[in-house]
Homo-oligomer: 201 residues x 2
DNA sequence: GTCTATAGGTTGATAGAC
DNA sequence: GTCTATCAACCTATAGAC
């Protein structure tokens, strides 16, 4: 349930974030959102102009702080960061446990290749991808730019999959407790080894 | 365009496969499908009972042969397969280039955690997951079952992400040509190293 | 098996009172 | 800013003629 101690605009954002993550963007109607937020239907079109603008606002509210933290951690790692430092700077700001409620939304954004969402994705992430691919290339000078991009895609896909299944995990993996700290460590270990691996199949 | 040289039922499956992959399950209406297939709207409910049954049929037609090939390759690898052999047996049947038209559909299935699709996913993949997790555990005896499951999740996520972006890749990675043979090799190398990596972060 | 026609319900968005 | 009421468009599914 969405807290009533905040203004209408925030309640709409909170409800939309929850339902978009849970059921997807297409399957969530504006009526579902206003019912969850306990606000009037017309309030959505008053505060946001359209459903697409609402999606943009919902995503931007969560992505921008994550990206800022990523760039801060990238900078804090100094001029010659290790591969592990780079992976943590990229993954940790999103996989923090206090963002667990946002995992499903982020997973939808990462894994839904619709035209509008792809545009949104590029708008919010092209700078991050650029900066980190430079850093990865510098950390692995023997690896060409194409290979770096594939390895980043693999890592992002692994992360997206974990985020999308975070809540379903107990069902899919009954004896495995989901703990974001542990999974982050597992993923960093996995991806770091993958980045360092040379061709030879 | 869907070929007219096949029967109505197949034309519906072909059109649905294309549009579900392109625009998602929710965003694709039965009208979209019958228009693309050039058949009458009522034919969908005649040949399939409902939209959910249609989705099931569309998925089953492609997943079952892939799973059969996976089990064949697993068996053909003998009693003591290498990690690389296991990864190829899991990944190659789906990432074959002659299945490129099916990539978007498979990516949607893998990356959409809706209740109905999760049920579909489990129905078609639980046997595969069981068999391969046993085989991975046997190939990496020093790795406990939980870690094996995470590493499989990471690998599946990397694969799903590549499949979902296969057609968008030229746009997201302008100077990288998508070639399923090359990407398969890159992914096997990446994942094999990730599987062998020990904790130590 | 294939068609038309339509029932019955939902959707995003807006007009206009307060 | 918030509400009610409503529009026009869309949806899945089915009944019934051929």
């Amino acid at each position: 349930m969405i807290s009533r101690a905040v203004d209408t605009k925030t309640r709409i954002l909170d409800a939309a974030e929850k339902l978009f993550g849970q059921n997807g963007f297409d399957a969530t109607s504006l009526r579902d959102i206003t019912a969850e937020a306990e606000v009037n239907l017309a309030a959505v079109n008053y505060h946001f102009q359209s459903k697409e603008s609402l999606i943009d606002a919902v995503v931007a509210r969560r992505v921008e702080p994550v990206n800022q933290k990523r760039l801060e951690m990238l900078e804090a790692a100094g001029p010659n960061p290790t591969l592990e430092q780079l992976l943590i700077a990229f993954l940790q700001p999103l996989m923090q446990s206090d963002l667990a409620q946002v995992y499903p939304l982020m997973a939808r954004l990462l894994a839904t290749p619709d035209a509008f969402l792809t545009r949104l994705f590029k708008k919010h992430l092209s700078l991050i991808i650029e900066r980190f691919s430079e850093a990865f290339s510098q950390a692995l000078p023997e690896c060409d730019a194409t290979q770096i991009r594939w390895k980043m895609q693999f890592t992002a896909g692994a992360m997206a999959h974990v985020l999308s299944r975070a809540y379903a995990m107990p069902e899919l993996m009954p004896d495995v407790k989901f703990d974001s700290q542990t999974v982050l460590a597992e993923l960093v270990t996995f991806a770091a080894a993958g980045f360092r691996a040379k061709e030879g199949i």
